[in-house]
Symmetry: C2
Subunit: 343 residues, 2 copies
DNA sequence: CTGAAAGCGCTTACAG
DNA sequence: CTGAAAGCGCTTACAG
């Protein structure tokens, strides 16, 4: 069976054309410095002429390294897949990976049994490192992988566990600066539409809110919780407005909740920003689409992807597995929803 | 060097425990029916006990098949990565792939030279099939891959070429039904904010618009072009409104352009939907966030991902490479932006 | 239905 | 700096 597809150039052919052994040819492709310039250039010329590209599977099996890193999305049915940040994160990871000549293998196990299979698969040395994309509970996956010596890094600080590597955005500082921005605009009765209590990310943002209010001697009693989506933002805002008529600003923990809140305000006859200023979080495409455009906290998500990749790849090089942690700053994106009322 | 990570169970160990040869053990994992039930169950028991998972690299190199399909995003800097549909597409692909036990390898070559490298890589038999995610010009990539016998499928109909396999959404019908919906609401002076002329997808939608107008004996003279993003939608709407004061409805070829258009209308004092009804395309998260919420054409993107995967995988099974083409319908998502004015 | 054997394309001590 | 040789984990005609 002459494989129609698999009939590509092999190392042996390159070596033959270059007049060296396979061992030598192999060395030039793996960047081994112990090769004469002569041999090196002969091999490179031959490779170029033949259009040779190393077979990763063979290389992986022979060397024990796979030259690829796994990106795992444990809950594809969850919000992450629909999160506006997800593509940006993936892009950052992809850029860094291809800069390092590594392959990105994406796993989105649809069911728990698939996670099980995946765990064995990843533990089987098919991947040099694992990037775990979950903002939720950390699972046993990372523990078992680390036990096998496979470096794992989390995107976003996993709730609960401490002994893991992660890159996160500074949600606390982001929440604080969003709130400080509202205060600087002269707002005083500021409400917060927070995410669910179980979410680390959401509670960090809420903590930032409280801190900013406290620093300015303002009361942070106006807090409602939502599920980060539009509808829960709408509900939360209606409730807040029903309870306190003097609210003059809102910090929502997500743009989607902010959009829902704006809708609630419109229904209830509150003008944005004249009556109530509002700021969101994520700086998603939503933010530019609301009326008026929504101020938001912009996170360096591409950078986060790049840093995660860089860290986990460097960990796969060294034996030591000290947890690496990194927190990135965010910046305010000010739009009309928080501009001082035209007077 | 006792590899800390690679020391996983091998076929040989399973075979030994099961009391059969590696050949027999191998056969049960590859689903070869020529194995006695006795041997089969012994092997399966041994595998379960040992936690064996086949090494894909070894399997790939020995069999010539890779059990993985490549998903290529040729222009990661382009809009696709930021397209709200992208995650949904990826999810559909991922689901179908893992149902078939195939691996998804994602490629997002950042530069043209990376595309070059990738081309050789994919042609080297590292992947059983390729899913090409580009709504733009078709490139030489697919041609060369097909020449090598590697099945390729496009997501979205590539402009220009005909002899390729693709799965697309029926943009023409979508544009027509959006327009018909506006007509059914009693609107008569309907404008279209179209995408760039070079885009197949955009011109299909525009064609649908024209057809619906023609069928109702309405003039389709109110057409402006944008780049599918928010800002160009705003510009286009301003221009349309400046030229024709009697516009009572707009069909925008993307939700983002619709959002921009709504903003322009607000600035110019036109009420939605009272003065002007508006409908978008994509049913992205944007649609629920605008004020009022935006009607839109919803595409079965997850299905598209699944069908693409199913098709390309089936192609990789058979020798014949007749182009497979499939077009999926879309459905209207009606919200307040097109509801009849409350009178 | 089963096993011994060759082979997939590469890497890597080892001995020069 | 270089090559012969063993080996990575699996599959697959081939011969029973």
């Amino acid at each position: 069976m002459e494989a129609a597809s698999g009939s590509s150039i092999t190392l042996a052919q390159v070596a033959r054309l270059a007049g060296v052994s396979r061992a030598t040819a192999s060395r030039v492709f793996s960047g081994n410095p112990a090769v004469s310039l002569e041999a090196c250039s002969a091999v490179e010329r031959a490779a170029a002429e033949l259009g040779y590209v190393p077979n990763r599977a063979a290389r992986s099996i022979a060397s024990g390294r796979s030259e690829s890193v796994g990106v795992v999305i444990p809950e594809p049915r969850s919000s992450l897949f629909l999160d506006p940040l997800f593509p940006r994160l993936l892009r950052g990871i992809g850029e860094e990976l291809s800069a390092s000549g590594l392959q990105m293998v994406l796993f989105a196990p649809p069911s728990p049994s698939d996670v099980q299979r995946l765990e064995q698969y990843l533990a089987g040395g098919h991947v040099d490192a694992v990037i775990l994309l979950t903002f939720h509970e950390s699972d046993t996956l990372s523990v078992r992988l680390q036990a096998r010596g496979i470096p794992v890094i989390y995107g976003g600080r996993p709730s609960g566990r401490f002994n893991v590597s992660f890159v996160d955005v500074d949600n606390h500082a982001g929440g604080r600066s969003a709130t400080e921005h509202l205060i600087a605009q002269g707002r005083r009765r500021i409400a917060h539409i927070a995410g669910p209590l179980r979410s680390r990310l959401a509670s960090d943002r809420a903590q930032g809110f409280r801190e900013a209010m406290w620093n300015s001697a303002l009361r942070s009693d106006l807090v409602a919780h939502g599920e980060m989506d539009r509808d829960s933002g709408e509900v939360a805002m209606s409730r807040l407005l029903a309870e306190s008529h003097d609210i003059d600003a809102v910090f929502a923990a997500s743009d989607a909740m902010a959009a829902g809140a704006m809708w609630a305000m419109q229904v209830l006859g509150r003008r944005v920003p004249d009556d109530v200023a509002i700021i969101g979080f994520d700086d998603s495409p939503l933010a530019a689409a609301t009326q008026p455009p929504l101020s938001s906290v912009r996170q360096p998500i591409e950078d986060m992807g790049r840093e995660m990749t860089r860290l986990v790849v460097s960990m796969s090089g060294t034996r030591m597995q000290t947890p690496q942690q990194m927190i990135l700053g965010s910046e305010l994106q000010v739009r009309q929803s928080t501009l001082a009322a035209a007077s």
